[in-house]
């Protein structure tokens, strides 16, 4: 429990006095609640078709209107929130695990670091979207693969950032002291260095979460991300874009949801970054 309280307190303190970031955080809380409680909140099954009510305008019972299949946009939006959370958290986990490990190991074992960081450099030479596209063409469309691809893309920047920080920490006096105590390499890495990286990691996570939404939406839009029936904000944009003149609400709702969520995450990330250990302020340049 103690591990959880610390990041929570960190977030609460970071938000103090920052109205916009707090509003952002509350919005995210709302999205989380909606996403988790999707089956309870959504009035309709997102896949259920009502051909008679195709492309109806927002109004009862279809709060956000219906799409070209007659599916309720509101329900799809709510389930879309769930998908956003899954993609977001999933990408964060993949990016932090892979990138974090690579970064920390590279920073600590300099020989290994020379090799691994060159590989990371090569991957980073590709713009994120291009890299994601490339990877997706090899894999088939699925939620899991989308998460893996986006996670891998952001693992590179995470690796670079944690590499730099580990390099800095490695030479700190308390690390020397731990060595003198007899601690071995992995003890030092995970018991001494890692706890000091938690705050920057948290900030990095918020930025990845935000950018994952954009990447996923872009992939969906290009027909490469999630499978077509999956209700996600990106898919909603992709499928309904030809109806922009006839039923603009079909694009406005998911679009606004994406914008607000990404914006909120960025605000939260900025607030956290400002409260971070001053040693690392310059290392977190964003994703």
């Amino acid at each position: 429990m103690r591990v959880l309280i610390s990041p929570l307190r960190f977030i609460l303190e970071a938000l103090r006095g920052r109205k916009l970031a707090t509003i952002g955080a509350l919005w995210l809380l709302l999205i989380i609640v909606l996403g988790i409680g999707a089956p309870l909140v959504a009035p309709f099954d997102p896949l259920e078709i009502d051909p008679i009510a195709r492309l109806s305008e927002p109004g009862a019972p279809y709060l956000f209107g219906t799409d070209h299949f007659g599916r309720d946009t509101f329900s799809r939006a709510v389930y879309g929130a769930r998908m956003a959370l899954i993609i977001g958290f999933g990408s964060v986990v993949v990016a932090l695990l892979c990138g974090g490990l690579i970064g920390m190991l590279s920073g600590y074992f300099t020989g290994l670091g020379h090799i691994l960081m060159r590989v990371v450099d090569v991957l980073m030479a590709f713009p994120a979207l291009l890299l994601a596209l490339g990877l997706m063409t090899i894999l088939e469309r699925s939620v899991m693969n989308t998460i893996i691809v986006i996670g891998t893309v952001y693992a590179t920047t995470t690796a670079r950032i944690l590499f730099g920080m580990t390099l800095k920490l490695k030479n700190d006096v308390f690390i020397d002291a731990a060595r003198c105590t007899g601690a071995g390499h992995f003890s030092i890495l995970f018991k001494h260095i890692l706890p000091n990286l938690l705050s920057p990691i948290l900030v990095q996570a918020t930025f990845i979460f935000a950018f994952a939404q954009l990447q996923a939406a872009a992939l969906d839009f290009l027909g490469l991300g999630l499978p077509p029936e999956t209700p996600s904000w990106g898919n909603m944009l992709a499928e309904e874009r030809i109806y922009i003149t006839r039923a603009p609400w079909l694009l406005i709702y998911p679009g606004v949801l994406i914008i607000l969520s990404v914006f909120s995450m960025n605000l939260l990330g900025d607030a956290l970054r400002d409260r971070i250990d001053p040693r690392f302020k310059d290392d977190i340049a964003g994703v």
Binding site: D172, V173, F174, D176, A177, A178, R179, C180, T181, G182, A183, G184, S187, K191, H192, P195, N196, L198
Partner: protein
């Protein structure tokens, strides 16, 4: 003080190769320690004293395997620890410990005092479980003049002097046989420095641990050492008993060093204080 050399340093040379600031392919060679030899006897306090760049800190770091750039011999327990691999050296870390200069940097800010102090206990298998550890930690904290409840707090909640006490506790927990004190009191306020010096002296006397005391401050060194090695630019220029160094300095540099110390008029009387030997809490 016994007559057995406990630690023997023979012809120690340390050269650092760094990239030069001028030119990409130029390397600078810093001959930090030049052919240094000395012995530390069981139970004694030997000080390495000198100004910046004399190599005293480097010697301490080489002995504890924090630097690996040395050639020569460092004989401890019959083995040359200088050429040992880090893995073979590890069990010896229980016997050779180090106190660091900066109390604000030597404790991991993310770990409670308990975690920091229990680490050596678990690594060297001195306790079986957490409650064992807590008991030992409580006793040690009391010994260094802190409350046992300090173990549940974080370093930032303590002052510099208190943090240094925690650093000393960490070292004493494994009952080492040699302690290297690298400018252990230099970063402390004068009044706190006196407290911690008293503590170090007391712990050294009661445990009989040998100490290599590294410092630039001659007054402090005089107070705590049995013998003193004066260093200048990587070499030991004079090595003698404390009294001799101060009353009959032989080397010109030692004399220059002694004459540079700003002198305080000798004090008239010494008043009693609240507790014996300079008070802890």
């Amino acid at each position: 003080m016994s007559a057995n050399p406990f630690l023997e340093v023979n012809n120690l040379n340390v050269v650092f190769h760094t990239k030069s600031a001028s030119g990409m392919f130029n390397k600078e060679h810093n001959h930090a320690v030049k052919n240094v030899s000395f012995s530390v006897y069981e139970g004694e306090v030997l000080s390495l004293v000198g100004e910046s760049g004399c190599g005293k800190t480097t010697i301490g770091r080489v002995i504890t395997h924090l630097e690996h750039a040395g050639t020569g011999e460092i004989i401890y327990a019959g083995q040359n620890i200088l050429t040992m691999s880090d893995t073979r050296f590890r069990p010896l870390r229980k016997q050779i410990q180090m106190i660091f200069q900066d109390p604000y940097a030597s404790l991991n800010p993310r770990l409670t005092v308990e975690k920091t102090l229990s680490e050596p206990l678990f690594i060297h298998k001195l306790v079986k479980n957490r409650s064992d550890a807590r008991t030992k930690i409580a006793a040690m904290l009391n010994e260094v003049g802190l409350n046992a409840e300090a173990m549940d707090r974080y370093p930032h909640e303590f002052s510099g002097g208190q943090r240094q006490r925690i650093g000393i506790a960490r070292v004493m927990m494994v009952q080492p046989r040699l302690i290297i004190a690298d400018e252990a009191v230099s970063a402390l306020d004068v009044s706190i420095q006196a407290q911690v010096l008293n503590l170090l002296k007391q712990l050294q006397r009661s445990s009989g641990v040998a100490m290599l005391f590294i410092s630039h401050d001659l007054a402090v060194v005089r107070h705590i050492s049995d013998r003193i090695a004066v260093m200048y630019q990587g070499e030991i220029v004079e090595l003698n008993e404390t009294r001799q160094i101060f009353e009959q300095p032989q080397h010109e540099y030692t004399q220059r060093l002694l004459s540079s110390i700003p002198v305080i008029p000798s004090r008239k009387n010494i008043e009693p204080t609240l507790s014996s030997n300079g008070g802890m809490l």
